[in-house]
Subunit: 198 residues, 2 copies
């Protein structure tokens, strides 16, 4: 049986969950130590910069995941496969955020005091999301202004759905809002393949 944690990369998902649940300020080293099973000494061995470096590493990993699974496919979609790429984006969002049961760490950090510390990473994450989606929308015939406005409204809608779902503690809000956002985007209304069944 291999050890639970052997490399720095193995801790990142556990760290991410602690930051998501408790926020940056609320995630104490004690909580992190419990969640990872590592003592403080080991944590500082992996992350000499302490909590700030842990959060930065988590953000970088999240950014990589979204870049690979969402942004790149949106940018790479050919004209006739844009609809499928957008469907895939919504499906990935629904899965990643567990139907609204999981918070967006980047969005949560953006609202808190930690925004100043991680401002560049936060801005880049959202700017590339909006940019990749607007890029894809333009290939459906939207002009630049419309595509950007639609992309912004969609990304904002997803973030707001996470806030509202968590506030009301009702996953149905997330499902409904995501579907409404999808239906507003060209091209056309998707066949209910992506996220209709639950």
């Amino acid at each position: 049986m291999p050890r639970l944690v052997t490399e720095r990369a193995d801790v990142l998902p556990l760290l991410a969950e602690v930051f998501r649940e408790h926020g940056y300020e609320g995630a104490s080293l004690q909580l992190i130590s419990q969640a990872t099973g590592l003592g403080k000494g080991s944590l500082y061995h992996f992350f000499p910069g302490g909590k700030a470096e842990m959060a930065a590493a988590v953000l970088a990993e999240i950014d990589d995941w979204f870049e690979r699974e969402l942004y790149a496919p949106l940018r790479a979609a050919e004209d006739e496969s844009v609809a499928a790429a957008i469907d895939a984006m919504f499906a990935a969002v629904d899965a990643y955020f567990r139907g609204g049961g999981r918070v967006c760490l980047v969005g949560a950090l953006a609202l808190g005091a930690a925004r100043d510390r991680f401002g560049a990473a936060i801005a880049s994450y959202f700017a590339r999301w909006v940019g990749a989606l607007a890029d894809a929308l333009q290939r459906t015939g939207c002009d630049t202004t419309t595509a950007t406005a639609l992309a912004e409204a969609t990304v904002a809608g997803i973030q707001g759905a996470l806030v509202l779902t968590r506030a009301l503690d009702d996953p149905a809000v997330f499902r409904r809002t995501l579907q409404a956002l999808r239906e507003r985007l060209p091209p056309g209304n998707p066949v209910d393949a992506g996220n209709a069944g639950h």
Copy 2:
């Protein structure tokens, strides 16, 4: 230095700003003391329950304001004045959140660990917002399902716009998103009642 505070009610706006800027966990009594100009002894005189009571009082005051300035007018709007009430809601939102430069404390708390402590107040704030808006929308001819979905999408869109605006540090995002949200609501852009839900 003149005294800033003579009653408990005078502290609430200052407290609210500290919680908005630093979050619940990040708002230390030291910061609160600086922002209000009150020593810890005075703070505990006004709020024997400490930080939790301060936050609860702030939430109650915010809730009162929204109830009075937003929810009640939406509910009270007659059929022919619903459009004006909705316009007024967007104007109030824009003013209250300072064009996206100010965070929604309730939304920020909903994303953080403090949600468990203030869950009831947070849920009530958003449920009554969605409810009041859906109520008004029904008076424009929407069926219940469509009105609820539109209201949810609008409130979520506002919250998401705050996240995105703060993340990108670009007030134009807030302005554009708010305008797009307004244009989607009837009356003015009547939905085709045939296929919105299912």
